[in-house]
């Protein structure tokens, strides 16, 4: 059977896309997944372990199965016999544990037939040809979803010896944490719990919001307006949303406030960094923009795709307009899909692109 769909990438967004295609009735033999890791959680797992992340920021429906129900709260309630996860979920206070999320992801992977479709290979070039796309010059596939993930870790040049938060590390006695997002907040807590003195270096006060983006941006209600906005304004919205943030709540505030009273936590601007610090941790997230992703940069250059600032311009369904027509589809999932879905780097974002991709795939069956 010839391949009808290709998923380029093998991370969480790729698995979300794969399970969605399978749920939509696309046979495992019709899909090829091309990526570097057979375990789609491998990269994410290492990063979560590096920052000692225990809980997900996402909520009950932040899982990789195709349908949002049953969510992780329902599964946990069923497993433990306690209604507490369901009640917490109703109040948007349920955040699954990382272990719960990963265990479910593994079940989803096994059940979906991922192994049948997976090929361990890094794709370096995608080219549009008649009726589809050649991946590194091989046989054309009509529908391709690129889900290559974040292009790399952002390392500020002024801290050449720093360890990145998403790399394995221990904590010294004095620590500087650069950044003000979720990873930084997690590192403050970790380092304080390890007995360290912490200096937080940041350019601006951190934003506090429950999810990466306002909730209306996760549905048609907010997206319809977003899709109507002019490119300049849309880019502005995306810049605002990419500002570092972490959720509100006592569990984040209390350790920092206690440490501040005890003189173990202080805030400094980049210029105020103390010389006696023994360890610098860059919780500065990821490189941004398609130019940092060699595959996307090559694609844009080869086909002269429309871009705006650091984003590839996409249709509302996450497809690349110039390379998508009735017979073929090129779609972007993950962070590269932000032009269509502001929270594209979340699981919800991955599913948004995947479902749109499925609709196009089914239409050409």
């Amino acid at each position: 059977m010839s391949r009808r769909c290709a998923v380029v990438g093998s991370g969480l967004a790729a698995l979300a896309a794969y399970t969605t295609l399978r749920r939509g009735g696309v046979a495992a033999e019709e899909i090829v997944v091309l990526g570097t890791h057979e375990d789609p959680t491998a990269v994410w797992r290492e990063r979560a372990a590096a920052i000692r992340q225990q809980k997900m920021r996402s909520e009950s429906d932040g899982h990789l199965a195709a349908a949002s129900f049953p969510g992780l709260s329902v599964r946990e309630a069923w497993r433990t016999g306690s209604p507490a996860p369901l009640v917490a979920s109703l109040a948007n206070r349920y955040h699954p544990s990382v272990a719960e999320f990963l265990a479910h992801a593994e079940k989803v992977r096994v059940r979906s037939g991922w192994k049948t479709s997976f090929r361990q290979r890094r794709v370096e070039r995608v080219r549009a040809v008649d009726g589809g796309f050649e991946l590194d010059g091989e046989e054309a596939v009509p529908h391709v979803l690129i889900a290559t993930g974040h292009p790399g870790l952002a390392r500020p040049a002024e801290y050449p010896d720093a360890v990145h938060a998403y790399e394995p590390h221990e904590y010294g006695a004095r620590i500087v944490v650069v950044g003000a997002g979720m990873a930084a907040a997690t590192e403050w807590r970790n380092a304080l719990a390890a007995g360290a003195e912490v200096t937080s270096i940041r350019r601006r006060p951190p934003l506090r919001r429950p999810l990466n983006a306002p909730r209306p941006f996760f549905s048609k209600r907010g997206l319809a307006g977003f899709h109507r906005t002019a490119p300049v304004r849309r880019a502005g919205v995306l810049r605002d949303l990419s500002a570092p943030s972490y959720p509100p709540g006592r569990e984040w505030d209390e350790p920092v406030e206690s440490a501040m009273e005890a003189g173990r936590f202080r805030v400094a601007s980049p210029a105020q960094r103390s010389g006696r610090d023994t360890q610098v941790i860059c919780a500065t997230g990821f490189l941004r923009g398609f130019r940092n992703d060699p595959l996307l940069a090559d694609l844009v250059d080869a086909h002269d795709l429309e871009t705006h600032e650091e984003w590839i311009v996409l249709a509302p369904d996450s497809t690349v307009p110039a390379l998508t027509d009735e017979r073929r589809t090129l779609a972007l999932a993950g962070v590269a899909g932000q032009w269509a879905f502001p929270a594209a780097d979340t699981i919800a974002g991955a599913k948004y692109a995947a479902r749109a991709f499925l609709r196009r795939t089914c239409r050409t069956r």
């Binding site: 195709a66 129900f69 109040a91």
Partner: protein
């Protein structure tokens, strides 16, 4: 969920399906009418919700459900849907729970894009919605086509008036009493003067007495025998003799639960009396009775709540003779001492008598020397009865 307006309404239409199925299954027109009312009220409120709520967390279903319950109840009373209150509440509960399950489990599991499309239900959902609307419109149309006639009573009718067919009788004055011998009869704003029983319901159910006024009867203002009645907002006064009861519900245990609410009864021997029946006595005013204010007796299973009993002689509210009663949130003022020296009649506000079991809580007792007491192997508990 961040609903679009279309998504809200589509979800609501599909979500009403469980309630509609129940309404069809119970074979009662009021149930169909109530489901249609729930849908209409919900759709109107959706316009407001859409403006006020850009995002609706799951728990919001609870306060919004309570709000809609109040509006639906008010609209039901205003329109005059003759639904038994407990059954109507049960249907509403089914509707609320069904809609919750549909919106939070069924649709998200069947339609992948449900959440991101703001609650819009797609092609299958639209077909389901159309089926729901067709069933509702068809049901209401059939209801309208076969509904019992409405008869307006003008001026004074010389009775007794015997009703043997379903129908709604509105207004007028009937002299000599009304005898109801058919199911599905409604009397609305009818005044009855005289007769042994002002209104006598026998072997009938789904009878509604709405805002009736009864005076000058010789045995009882309203009597229901082997019947299921809803009596709402009635007035019974000026009895023709000292032995006249206000409202009497007897031997109706095999019938649907009766309800007596919002009535004012004054000057009768007993205000409200039940025997071997299942009655919800709620929010009535019983004034100056020459005997007990409210009597729940003879193996009845009754609830008396939010009533006000003023100046009853001997006993304010009594649960007696093997009955099981829940007596709560009532106010008993000035229960008077009976002159016969019987300790159970010495101005007792609330009493359990002769192997009765009463659950009594949140009542207010004023100037009633007998207080709250149990006599003759009866039991009063201050918490829920054992199930």
């Amino acid at each position: 969920m961040s609903y679009t307006l279309r998504g809200r309404i589509e979800t609501r239409v599909v979500g009403i399906l469980p309630a509609l199925l129940v309404a069809i299954a119970v074979h009662r027109w009021w149930a169909i009418e109530l489901v249609a009312l729930m849908l209409a009220v919900g759709a109107v409120l959706d316009l407001g919700y859409h403006r006020a709520l850009s995002y609706q967390p799951g728990w919001f279903a609870v306060p919004l459900g309570a709000l809609e319950l109040g509006v639906v109840y008010g609209a039901m009373r205003w329109i005059g849907i003759a639904a038994p209150l407990v059954d109507a509440l049960a249907l509403y509960a089914v509707g609320w729970a069904g809609a919750f399950v549909v919106a939070n489990a069924v649709l998200p599991s069947r339609r992948l894009e449900y959440a991101e499309s703001g609650g819009e239900v797609g092609r299958i959902g639209v077909l389901t919605g159309v089926a729901v609307l067709v069933a509702l419109v068809g049901g209401l149309g059939a209801d309208y086509a076969v509904r019992p006639p409405t008869i307006h009573l003008h001026g004074t009718v010389q009775g007794p008036l015997v009703i043997r067919h379903a129908g709604t009788y509105v207004g007028g004055v009937v002299k000599g009493g009304v005898a109801i011998r058919s199911d599905h009869v409604t009397l609305r704003r009818v005044t009855v003067v005289g007769g042994e029983y002002g209104i006598d319901v026998e072997h009938a159910e789904h009878v509604m007495l709405d805002r009736v006024r009864v005076i000058d009867t010789t045995l009882a203002g309203i009597r229901a025998y082997d019947a299921g009645v809803m009596i709402d907002d009635c007035t019974i006064s000026e009895p023709a003799g000292p032995l006249v009861s206000g409202i009497l519900v007897t031997y109706s245990m095999g019938r649907p639960m009766s309800m007596i609410s919002g009535c004012t009864i004054s000057g009768t021997r007993e205000g409200i009396a039940t025997h071997s029946s299942e009655v919800d006595v709620m929010g009535n005013h019983v004034l100056g009775t020459t005997e007990r204010g409210i009597l729940l007796g003879e193996m009845s299973m009754d609830m008396a709540s939010h009533n006000e009993v003023v100046g009853a002689k001997g006993i304010g509210i009594i649960c007696m003779d093997h009955s099981m009663c829940e007596i709560s949130h009532n106010t008993v003022i000035g229960a008077r001492v009976d002159g016969n020296q019987n300790p159970s009649r010495q101005g007792v506000a609330i009493e359990a008598y002769f192997y009765a079991e009463a659950q009594v809580h949140h009542n207010t007792v004023v100037a009633s020397p007998g207080g709250v007491q149990a006599f003759d192997n009866s039991l009063i508990t201050r918490s829920k009865l054992p199930q």
